[in-house]
Amino acid sequence: MSIAFYLIAALTVAGGLAAVLLKNTVHCALALTVAFAGLALFFLQLDAQFAGFAQILVYIGAVAILVVFAILLTRGSETPKDGVFSKNWFVGLVIAAGVFAVLGWAVLQSGHVLPHETAVPVVTVLQIGNALMGRYVLPLEIVALLLTAAMIGAVIVALHEKESAK
């Protein structure tokens, strides 16, 4: 548990909290980006360079941008008059707190079986590439198919209705 861990944890949790609590939707999206960046730093701290950079590239470079585009396209940056939280927000909060209690309890209870500091694994991009093209080639193909399907699906869903009616 280094100082860096606590700093990154504070940054990530603060970003996550801001992302769900702030009133302005665009601020929420920007806070979400902070949380994503914190997670990328976590990945780097866990010696998963490739995953960390992929996280930045995909989440900050694409997903965050998609979110802000969606917010602006739906005029979501205007704060609604009747509050930003749902009518039954209390139930949601209780469920989330319950989930956290269960998860936290489980982690703390199993503390003694969890491994302590282990040797730093050395993972090169070459190994990841070999794994992707060898053992994980089927999942890779499926993900490729999924992404293509998602792209076509997103285009069709977002196409103007009048055009599709023609």
Binding site: A48, A51, Q55, V58, L93, E117, H160
Partner: protein
């Protein structure tokens, strides 16, 4: 507290924050943001278990995380496409007001 449990606690906290956001916010986009947070918390778990697991050289957890990132990108694209399409149809992104099955 072992290093691993620290990461697991943070991941659990993030997951709960995301869940709370997804359950309490009215705006559909913010619900998606909550879901993204939950997915990311799961990724953190995967990477942490890979790092402190018995066989990091097998790359299982890392691969899972990378695939999860790819799937999350697809999910975000389709989810936001749906939100935009619904907004065009119902002129709102407020989930409390989307209470009709019929357009």
């Amino acid at each position: 507290m072992t290093p691993l449990s620290g990461y697991l606690i943070v991941a659990a906290l993030l997951f709960s924050i995301g869940l709370a956001g997804a359950l309490t916010r009215r705006n559909a986009i913010l619900v998606l943001i909550g879901i993204e947070l939950m997915l990311n918390a799961a990724n953190l778990n995967l990477i942490a278990f890979w790092r402190y697991g018995p066989h990091p050289e097998a790359l299982t957890g890392m691969m899972f995380a990378i695939f999860s990132i790819a799937v999350a990108a697809a999910e975000a694209a389709v989810g936001l496409g749906l939100v935009i399409s619904i907004h065009r149809h119902a002129h709102t992104t407020d989930l409390d007001r989307m209470n009709r099955m019929k357009g």
